[in-house]
Symmetry: C2
Subunit: 590 residues, 2 copies
């Protein structure tokens, strides 16, 4: 369930990442020609959880789910929009950041996952600019504090009204003893490139910085007198629109609601199945395997008992050949197989992350015709300059990045009848480990497992470190990458895939069941936190980017601080905020 | 004092980082021509703290202090040595890594600082290879587990005996629910470039990997049969020695013990003073300044009360002009001013880090003649190909990096009579903030504060992100760096320094006292952990290197795990290790 310590509002039992503008409570999306306005006007009562109010345009995960949805819709439903104006619907406040009472009452797991999703949403705003030429201008009329300024930092251009009081600030440290953890510190140093000593002053000045100094210190791009604001905004919007290559006068496609059917053991989508089960049979818990055996149900801090589970996500290949033309793809819209699969997969991952904390590992399987999967990749390659093809590839890129950053062990099982080819092969390379079955199974008439590479595996889907998954995999020897490239288009059996270094282990049918079972049981028996840290390190070899710095350096420090008594203890700043009592800090530096 | 939860051995009250080979209990250093052997033979009883034994060549901070000392001595005292053979003096075990009972009983602060120092020592081994051509060959005869293998990973070449049982392993996760936190994960992916899925298998396989697979997976460089080991080691040593440019037949200088005089309020070295005092007067704690006031003494977890303190480190410039020649520099040896100052400064920083957890901020001051400081920099520039000049610059580089990574707020006060020029100006740029006094003080005849840049500020001392401190400072606009370069050699007054962006604030005498006092009091009132996280992010804008990844990504995750109940709780893996009871884990993934 979503959160042990807090109740979801309206009797809900799960956090749902699906929404649409008709359901928004916090944002107003209006489109006027090539300019969209995204107005933040948070409904105080419209909280995700019980127990707090969203005053002063502060936000919780529910507010951010709507924002993320709005950005996606602008990309797919409004391809003619070139500029987003990010504005506040409240007087004298742009946004007060993440709601403090929400944070104070949230479990550690929710805090961490909340920050992860909001980070992904802000990265998505930057991605829309970089990939689609959908630029964001943030217009700050009032105060942009903490997460409010961090939201502004995701924009291409920040305008601050010059009225003697409007200011930007990152007051997290002085006010709450935590970090501006939604990319704020990293964007200040690496995107805005604010001098480090000025950044230090800024991040320790509760009231923030306004006017000319905000420009001089590179915190905003310009300050504008109130009387000239609308004129200046229109001018900037025009300038950014002129730089955009988004297709004028194009009609978008509708991102229709996903069809989902949930049961006790999983979820069924159109092209994706999620099956949840215990990581080990009860009888396996009796202790046959020394250190690595699965332990009896553990007692948690909150007294409940729990057992690690597995989520098996099966991806189904296309039922038909790709459409004949780009126009036919637009016609299919959200039903177009690559888009439908990406949306369903993304929703499944978000659902597990936010609602299924006991899932220790995600097992990826697939079924279908690899040749058809490759045909769709070729279709998207052939139409790569079409706006919709570009957006679909972009969606896959972001969905795969989200998987890289999912703190669950990721395992790919490449079995007879599977279709891990091209785009779908990325799931094998995103996994911490992969197993591939050699030959057929006894009494099974499915074709032997194959793996196939395509052009798409060599650059279309960079990880947050800027490298393709295969380049990250073959850091040691670039000729390994060349060999893989040379094999693109070939149907690789298990032994060939293992030889090329594309899978971890190729196994006979005789060993398969036992090996996989033992591995998954063992995995589920390890410390959940230890695995999170291990995977966060091993998945990202090689270079770092601003994005990977946000998820590694900044997030890891914030997670640490979210465990420290100075922030979350009974006398800590988060607990005491607003009580009139000052926090009591342990002054020792670690 | 050193550690609230544990007593130092032999009645000591502080951890001391000064040692020499005559005092070593755990290492035997022998030099034979251009090859040195560093034999690890840990004395089980020779622990730093009470309450555990160092079995199986496991180590604590005391063991690592000796190792760090030995590496420095090889650089300065034995400049003719080209190759270090890192070996074990125990049968069938190379090194079992950090001692688990030590870790289990250590405070969080000690664990974090222990890992930081051991990381710096391993980086130092790599630095000796890169900068001085002093190569390390690690000869593993037996098991190299956890920190034992992490030590091997710092070497240029890893040899593993092929006897059917000798193996390398990183069993931290399966055994202890923590990470291989001394660079292990990062060196596996970024230095050895082990494929990520193989790294996953390796790091979850308690017994490790041996023989041919260890070579195939790039975990070691070669396996050698026992019968041919000595022959193979000699051959490799010869090969590496042939690549080294260390000066044959050169006599080194003696790193004599530092003269230190400790009082209740600080330490006096020859060229460095450390003064400790409360961060605010008691009367200031009554609450004049709203949110930011210094709080009354806080109660700690362990019931003791504490008040944040400040450490003021004053660096004294040279008393005399540089020597006339490189030979005269060698003659001065450890008394040569730049080396003496660097060693004393490094010791002062280590002492504060390990023993003075209540120090919230380190304030750097200096006194002396800036022209003399620059003269020494010019002397070292002129002799930059001399082995000793190179080693001294290298020592400064490492000492400055250690300061960058010190989790205390760093402040430079540039006052009349100070000598922040060239190398010493790096302390201003290493600081989170700097203040510079404009003009003279009333009734003070000291010359006005100046700042002076030299060639050394533009590349000789890279930070762990690979950039000079000035390049890190001026990420936004490279012309700022050019302007600073153009001003090299000039005597800059406070206004000029501020204009060039070299200091945070230039202040009049009228404002100085109040501004600084208020700032330092405010700083000491913030959450210690929040500041640690803030500074760890703001200090390292721009690119990342393997080294910075170790300190950011890996260390931050490990610090988080060191707070989690699965590792350190009463039922956690660290506490239960060796008790016969299995740890009980919360299975929820965060």
């Amino acid at each position: 369930m979503a959160d042990a310590e807090r109740k979801l509002n309206n009797g809900k039992s799960r956090i749902d990442f699906q929404t649409d503008p008709s359901k928004y409570r916090h944002w107003k999306l209006t489109v006027d020609g090539d300019v969209a306005t995204l107005l933040m006007d948070v409904d105080e009562k419209g909280t995700l959880f019980e127990g707090y109010e969203l005053k002063l345009n502060s936000y919780d995960l529910g507010v951010d789910i709507e924002l993320a949805d709005a950005i996606e819709r602008l990309r797919f439903e409004h391809p003619q929009v070139k500029v987003i104006l990010l504005r506040s619907g409240k007087p004298r406040v742009f946004c007060a950041g993440a709601n403090i009472r929400m944070l104070a009452g949230a479990s550690h797991a929710h805090k961490v996952n909340f920050c992860k999703f909001t980070n992904e949403t802000r990265n998505g705003i930057e991605d829309a600019s970089e990939v689609s030429g959908l630029f964001t201008i943030c217009v700050i009329n009032g105060t942009a504090a903490g997460g409010g300024y961090e939201l502004a930092l995701a924009a291409d251009h920040i305008m601050l009204i010059d009225d003697g009081s409007s200011a930007v600030s990152l007051p997290e440290l002085p006010l709450l003893a935590v970090l501006p953890g939604t990319g704020g510190l990293t964007r200040v140093t690496d995107k805005r490139k604010v001098r480090r000593d000025r950044a230090d002053v800024f991040c320790t000045t509760e009231e923030g910085i306004k006017g000319k100094r905000a420009v001089d210190w590179r915190l905003v791009d310009e300050v504008v007198p109130a009387s000239k604001l609308e004129e200046a905004v229109a001018k900037r919007a025009g300038e950014f629109a002129a730089k955009s290559r988004r297709p004028p006068g194009t009609k978008g496609i509708a991102l229709r609601p996903l069809a989902r059917e949930r049961s006790a053991d999983g979820v069924e989508y159109g092209t994706v199945s999620v099956e949840l089960r215990a990581a080990a049979l009860a009888s396996d818990a009796s202790g046959q395997r020394g250190h690595s055996q699965v332990r009896a149900p553990d007692t948690r801090e909150d007294g409940s008992s729990a057992r690690a589970r597995l989520a098996t996500i099966t991806l189904r290949g296309p039922q038909a050949a790709p459409p004949a033309s780009a126009e036919a793809m637009v016609e299919q819209g959200a039903e177009f197989w690559p888009l439908k699969l990406a949306r369903e997969l993304d929703d499944a991952i978000l659902d597990i992350r936010a609602n299924e904390f006991d899932v220790a590992a995600i097992v990826f399987k697939s079924s279908g015709d690899p040749a058809q999967v490759l045909a769709y990749d070729q279709f998207l390659d052939a139409n790569k300059d079409h706006w919709l093809a570009r957006e679909i590839r972009g969606f896959w890129k972001r969905a795969l990045k989200r998987i890289d950053l999912t703190s669950r062990s990721l395992v790919a099982l490449v079995e007879p009848g599977s279709c891990f080819a091209g785009t779908l092969a990325e799931l094998v390379f995103a996994s911490d480990r992969s197993y591939m079955l050699i030959g057929k199974r006894d009494g099974d008439n499915k074709p032997p497992a194959t793996l196939a590479l395509a052009a798409v595996n060599f650059g279309a889907y960079p990880m947050s470190n800027g490298l393709s998954r295969l380049a990250s995999r073959f850091l040691a020897d670039p000729t390994d990458l060349d060999r893989a490239k040379a094999a693109a288009g070939e149907t690789l059996d298990a032994e060939a895939a293992e030889r090329l270094g594309l899978v971890t282990f190729a196994l006979d049918d005789i060993d398969w069941e036992d090996e996989i079972r033992v591995f998954l049981e063992e995995r589920a028996s390890f410390s959940a936190d230890g695995l999170t840290g291990l995977e966060a390190n091993l998945r990202f070899g090689g270079p770092e980017t601003m994005e990977s710095k946000i998820f590694a350096r900044l997030t890891a420090w914030q997670n640490w601080i979210f465990q420290r008594p100075n922030a979350v203890g009974e006398e800590g700043a988060l607990k005491r905020y607003g009580t009139g009592q000052k926090p009591a800090f342990d002054t020792r530096r670690v």
